[in-house]
């Protein structure tokens, strides 16, 4: 197997380890993988001090997260690593679905232009982790502690005490807010004895990363019942560094120990790719997939985010793409609560909004997995009927489910101010702002999303806001600070003169008006901060 690059995480003793009693921090994050580091970066960008503890001494092993969706890239851009990810990653938006050897249909995940970020990039998880790790070093409020393994936790009403094991021995910390971002086998979740309910899909998948020079396009290719894997499925993705990711469904009866041997895998891949192109293995493993979630993501001072809270099968790329939406949702709420700008109950809306998102992700991932791996004779027959009809009638295509790829969450949340007037366009209340290309007065281009800072933003369509701007809101005047020359803002937002859009710090739209005054704006912002929630 090829020698893979490793990304070291050095240990550094902390003054906390010499303190006479456990030091209390406002935020401690357990888990320094992509979700933990995304949260740390977000808090760091917001000036909220946090500690990140992770037991590992190096990263880079395995074949893990790969496909990062547009919304994720927009969040990463806000965190300062989006352009780096885009530059290294393989951009794609087209997919092809094959049945046997025949192309069934193609799909395009971003059929419109005028967005900074593409539909998807493929990027090895270890690169994303490394970019976030390096970004964290630029943020003085982020205290990274690797080789600090969480081995104990006690939750009290207003804080948690954590035991960490280090090369210098154990020590304890206290956290007002403990955020568990420690993955599917979360130590925090297990130490707290919380049950992680769901189901396992009775099937096995071979995951192989191979290094190969090939000119397949950067498209997601999925096969139902291909000749090289009869009765099963296959998936092919292009990665950076001439690495290709192949998923082959093997069936429940496959023997994992046998199937992961390179001498078993090579003939399968040669049948799939042909024998003309040499390749070397970077990674091989056999997986079964699960869909699970914690019933509640918040347990006193402990909050769960990412795979520690919810687990999905990978069809649809809803792992990190939902984990980063968790942290996007949480960071500004933590900041607001810690700064006394919002009541503590605001944090409960993280649970409300992200538990609903997890249900949506689990539903979609489950349905895709059931279509790809039908569990009964009849479900297989119906599935195959849909496949057989696809070449013959237009509707059948909509039934074919090789994975419903991750889309951003649209929150049905008490934090939003319900619309009192009709708004068309593609912007949705509770959803993230659609991006739009704008121009500054000097003619230089600006992307709408890049104009949003870490606070609430009011987008106002006009020269001058007709009322006083409530404090701590950022104002962007469309038509004065930036121009909608391409008209895409107007189209996507159904904007008219005087229209105003209030945007949360996570770039989700929480209120919109055809006419504004200061009381209306203030009420919308207070509502979005949770001041109207029952205490």
């Amino acid at each position: 197997m090829a020698e893979k690059e490793r990304f070291p995480r050095p240990y550094q003793r902390s003054p906390d380890q010499d303190a006479s009693r456990p030091v209390r921090h406002r935020v401690v994050i357990i888990g320094g993988g992509p979700v933990g580091l995304a949260l740390a970066t977000d808090l760091g960008v917001r000036g909220v001090p946090c500690v990140v503890a992770d037991g590992k001494s190096e990263f880079g092993e395995g074949s893990r997260g790969l496909c990062y969706a547009k919304r994720t890239l927009e969040i990463l851009d806000r965190l300062g690593v989006g352009e780096r990810a885009l530059a290294k990653g393989v951009t794609w938006q087209l997919g092809k679905v094959f049945h046997h050897e025949k192309l069934l249909y193609e799909f395009n995940l971003l059929p419109e232009s005028g967005h900074k970020m593409p539909a998807f990039i493929n990027l090895q998880q270890y690169y994303l982790e490394q970019f976030l790790y390096e970004r964290c070093h630029e943020l003085p409020d982020v205290d990274l502690r690797f080789q600090n393994k969480c081995t104990g936790i006690e939750a009290f009403p207003n804080y948690a005490r954590i035991r960490l094991e280090t090369p210098d021995g154990p020590y304890e910390l206290e956290a007002e807010h403990l955020i568990a971002c420690d993955g599917s086998r979360s130590a925090v979740r297990q130490l707290m004895g919380l049950s992680f309910e769901g189901r396992v899909f009775e099937d096995r998948f071979l995951i192989a990363d191979i290094k190969m020079l090939a000119d397949y396009p950067a498209e997601r290719w999925f096969w139902f019942d291909p000749p090289f894997n009869p009765g099963q499925s296959a998936l092919l993705h292009k990665q950076p560094d001439d690495i290709w990711r192949i998923d082959l469904q093997l069936g429940w009866d496959a023997d994992p120990a046998e199937e992961r041997k390179p001498e078993r895998v090579r003939p399968r891949l040669e049948a799939m790719l042909g024998k003309e192109r040499p390749f070397e293995f970077e990674w091989i493993s056999i997986y079964s997939f699960h869909c699970r979630r914690l019933e509640r993501f918040i347990h006193g001072p402990v909050i769960f985010a990412g795979d520690s809270a919810h687990l999905v099968s990978p069809f649809g790329a809803r792992g990190f793409n939902s984990g980063v939406q968790d942290t996007d949702n949480l960071a500004w709420k933590l900041e607001a609560v810690l700064a006394g700008q919002a009541p503590k109950t605001l944090l409960q809306t993280y649970g409300l909004e992200r538990e609903a998102a997890a249900d949506e992700n689990i539903l979609n991932s489950t349905r895709a997995t059931d279509f790809i791996t039908p569990k009964s004779r009849t479900s297989r027959t119906i599935r195959d009927a849909a496949l057989s009809l696809t070449a013959e009638v237009p509707f059948a295509r909509t039934l074919i489910n090789s994975g419903r790829l991750s889309t951003p969450s649209v929150y049905d949340t008490p934090l939003s101010t319900p619309d009192t007037e009709a708004f068309g366009g593609t912007a949705r209340l509770g959803g993230p702002l659609p991006d739009a290309p704008l121009a500054r007065p000097d003619g230089s281009p600006a992307w709408l999303l890049n104009l949003l800072g870490p606070r609430f933003t009011l987008l106002y369509c006009g020269d001058e806001l007709p009322c006083e701007l409530p404090g701590s809101m950022q104002l962007v005047r469309i038509g004065r600070d930036v121009m909608d020359e391409a008209g895409l803002f107007q189209q996507r937002y159904d904007a008219k003169p005087g229209s105003a859009y209030l945007v949360r710090p996570d770039q989700h739209l929480c209120a919109r008006f055809r006419r504004v005054d200061t009381p209306v704006l203030r009420a919308a912002m207070e509502r979005a901060l949770g001041w109207e929630l029952p205490r």
């Binding site: 569990k375 009964s376 004779r377 009849t378 195959d384 009927a385 849909a386 057989s388």
Partner: protein
């Protein structure tokens, strides 16, 4: 709840329908017949479209069919 689905007689030629079904399946193996039925279900479902009607139809079709003994999985494909 108001039933949307039509269960009163609505076929002009019931005998003709039965005959057409028989003819459609002629010469097919059991596996092919299963596939034909599944294709037909999907085609008719799409034609109907209305999710309430489809839901009622499924419930009506399922009613009176007892599942196999608890814990017994259906045969794997």
């Amino acid at each position: 709840m108001n039933r949307q689905i039509v269960t009163s007689p609505n076929l002009e030629d019931p005998d003709g329908l039965y005959a057409a079904f028989v003819v459609a399946h002629q010469g097919l193996s059991d596996a092919q017949s299963e596939l034909l039925n599944a294709r037909l279900v999907l085609i008719l479902a799409n034609h109907i479209g209305d999710p309430d009607v489809l839901r009622e139809a499924l419930a009506l079709a399922r009613a009176g069919l007892a599942p196999t003994a608890a814990g017994e999985p259906s045969p794997r494909p």
